[in-house]
């Protein structure tokens, strides 16, 4: 009973191809995220959705397009893949605080990662 799952686990593809990574969470969380971890293990947020609505959209090439069909799923589609896209992509989810003034940070639950290699 995996909480946050991603498919595929490994993805090897040629430059210029289009690929998708899928993420699903069964925790009932409202918020989902995509992170990119580079070869130096630096983890950078790319997107965040809350109840299917985009709430964080960092400076990411528009070749990357997230799609959230429902609040349990957040997929990442990448067009025209480039060598620099090679990284590990992590999906995560959290329960968003409904009361901002409560100063309640949310624990994020991460998927196992998708290792993308662009040749």
């Amino acid at each position: 009973d995996t909480a946050v799952s991603q498919t595929p686990k490994y993805l090897v593809t040629q430059m210029g191809n289009d690929k998708s990574i899928k993420c699903e969470q069964n925790l009932g969380h409202d918020t989902m995220y995509w992170y990119k971890q580079d070869s130096k293990k630096f983890l950078k947020i790319m997107f965040s959705y809350n109840n299917k609505e985009l709430i964080i959209n960092e400076t990411v090439p528009n070749r990357f397009s997230p799609k959230s069909p429902d609040k349990a799923h957040l997929n990442l589609h990448i067009n025209s893949l480039e060598l620099g896209d090679s990284a590990v992509y992590f999906c995560a989810s959290s329960q968003r605080s409904l009361v901002a003034s409560a100063r309640r940070a949310q624990t994020q639950y991460f998927g196992p990662g998708t290792r993308l290699l662009v040749l």
Partner: protein, 111 residues
């Protein structure tokens, strides 16, 4: 620019010793979290400390937070080989939706 920076970048100790990792950040925060990442796996949440707290314990973990110095430390006592992993601090500047992660400390515990 990056919010958190961990220190040291790498730490190698013997089993049974204590391991201390530090994290510094630049802007005001509401909360700070520590995560562990085993090789080839996703991040796992360890502990959260709020900005109005100074110290927190969880099992063999002890976290301190000094908001005046914008720094936090993670202490793992009586380390075990299974503690070998990368440890990341993450800061939450507000709202809970966005976490900014540091560069991580690679801890190796030798049996």
């Amino acid at each position: 620019s990056q919010q958190g920076e961990e220190d040291p970048q790498a730490l190698s100790i013997q089993e049974g010793e204590n391991a201390t990792m530090n994290c510094s950040y630049k802007t005001s925060i509401n909360n700070l979290q520590w995560y562990r990442q085993n090789s080839g796996r996703g991040l796992v949440h360890l502990i959260l400390i709020r900005s109005n707290e100074r110290e927190k314990h969880s099992g063999r973990l002890r976290v301190t937070l000094d908001t005046s110095k914008k720094s936090s430390s993670l202490l793992i006592t009586a380390s075990r080989a299974a503690d070998t992993a990368s440890y990341f601090c993450a800061t939450d500047g507000g709202g809970g939706s966005r976490l900014t992660f540091g560069e991580g400390t690679q801890l190796t515990v030798n049996p």
